[in-house]
Amino acid sequence: MGCPSVEVVIDKKMTETEVIEELSDGMTIGIGGWGSRRKPMSLVRAIACSNLKDLTIVSYGGPEVGLLCATGKIRKAIYGFVSLDSIALEPHFRNAKQEGIIETGELDEGAFYLGLLAAAHRMPFYPTRAGLGSDMLMMNPEIKTIESPYESSNGEKGEELVAIPALNLDVSLIHMNRADSQGNGQFLGPDLYFDDLFAKAAKRTFMSCEKIIPTEDFLKEGSVHTLKIPRLFVDGVIEAPRGAHFTECPPDYGRDEIFQSEYAASAKDLQSWESFKQKYLEVTSHQEYLKAVDSRTQIEESQNG
């Protein structure tokens, strides 16, 4: 007789709409990825089209921050930066900031990481020197400093350190290249960013992915080192092919720079924004969004060809 096979029967598959039903006004939502890279955009668009409001968004910010600013979903954004990478400044975020319509918690990029780590470890804070001497503490008056309980090696009394408070999240949204329906996630690109910490720092995590595959296929896709999101930190799995569009999701696809430019241009005035919103946000599903994106490419091709 062989070993009895242990089969996990949990099924965490969900749709974008079902995820929205799990969210509520005023929540603090972490979003994985980095700048315009591997963002869970199908979930972000679902929030943009929902009735949710007063959200606090916590991320290494990219278009999700701009899109949710432009659709009036954000009360406060907490971030290390907000950038589209190839376009240095997120234009919708820039508008919101310059109009003074959102609160911000702007942190040093490394300090932001320590805030996530503290939340993941259920610590109240982690100490760092980042922020001393700069205006970070003036801009974030709730962040306190502490004195190190230890003398330094040269006998100086305990030095002053910044206590970065835990970035505790109600929900995190991340996007992976592959996942199984039990909630294990796999990244196949060059950088996980901080997605594992977002999952661990949140009470609940919803993970979209390019493709749901059987668990036994993970090691055909990538080495064991790519399996960084274990299912105990994941509550829902959403299959969303090209779900990170227009941000990059290598090796599945690169950034859609042409679309990103169109998105950035929509921050120019109300008319441009209304037209963008109508074309790409006021659609019923992720599939409809992709159709709108592709029909535009086809038009371009026929015009060029």
Binding site: G100, L132, S134
Partner: protein, 255 residues
């Protein structure tokens, strides 16, 4: 010595010279002109330095800028999380930009005006607060003017010497602003007061021009040198190997 060097190439070698003596650390310039300078320094006089491909690995070979498909001799994986570990280890020299800088080297690239509702939202604090208190920093400022060299910056992203003098001994011994290269000259803080001083003027730039383009009293030593001209070997590396498409020219287009 090569007489046909252009201003962009003179700035590249001036930034590269800032890495002299750094040894086996992460050379981490941001932006095309600084990246070209870092790769030049590594390819010539500072071969022990390590550098990223600006994505996620340390690459041992000299790779051209603006070529995502260039062959990389990968020596380590360097995702962002590990990059922060290197910042905190101190084994790093970063070159950043600055929208504003003051006489003590306080740098702003966060916002112009009141940060809560700025006239212009810029990059934000990014990694500047942590960089300055942990590792060596230099600045590249391609538009030297009284708008960028100011008496007081609107937001302090990266703290300068006056602010750091009030912090711990640990931070004071790890904080260093090595130099500032602008489109007009080279400046540093190598004096008792730790105030910005002029080191050299680029060819065809006068001391008076630099004083006029600086919005505060600049320390000017009796002898101000002329910034050196790149060697023939350096020019070949810049033009043929590191930046064959001339990306370095873009920042000088309107000057």
């Amino acid at each position: 010595m090569a007489d046909d060097a252009t201003i962009d190439e003179i700035c590249v070698t001036a930034i590269a010279d800032g890495f002299r003596g750094d040894g086996e650390i992460l050379c981490n310039p941001i932006g095309n002109v600084p990246v070209i300078a870092g790769r030049l320094a590594k390819a010539t006089f500072e071969s022990d330095m390590v550098m990223t491909d600006t994505v996620s690995v340390l690459a041992a070979n000299t790779i051209p800028v603006g070529d995502p498909d260039a062959e990389r001799l990968v020596e380590a994986w360097m995702p962002y999380r590990d990059l922060f570990d290197i910042v905190w280890s101190g084994r790093r020299h970063i070159v950043m930009g600055a929208s504003q800088i003051d006489p003590y080297g306080n740098q702003n690239f966060a916002a112009i005006g009141d940060w809560k509702k700025p006239k212009a939202q810029l990059l934000g604090l990014r990694g500047a607060p942590g960089n300055l208190v942990n590792n060596t920093t230099s600045y590249w400022i391609p538009n030297h003017s009284t708008r960028s060299f100011v008496e007081k910056v609107d937001v302090v992203s990266g703290p300068g010497y006056d602010r750091v003098s009030e912090l711990s001994g640990w931070i004071q011994s790890n904080h260093e602003i090595r130099q500032i290269v602008s489109n007009l000259g080279v400046l540093n803080f190598s004096n008792q007061e730790k105030r910005m001083q002029l080191v050299s003027c680029h060819p065809n730039v006068t001391v008076e021009e630099i004083i006029g383009a600086t919005g505060f009293e600049l320390l000017v030593p009796d002898e101000v040198e002329e910034t050196r001209i790149p060697t023939k070997e350096e020019l070949e590396l810049i033009r043929e190997v590191i930046d064959p498409h001339g990306l370095r020219k873009a920042e000088f287009a309107k000057k």
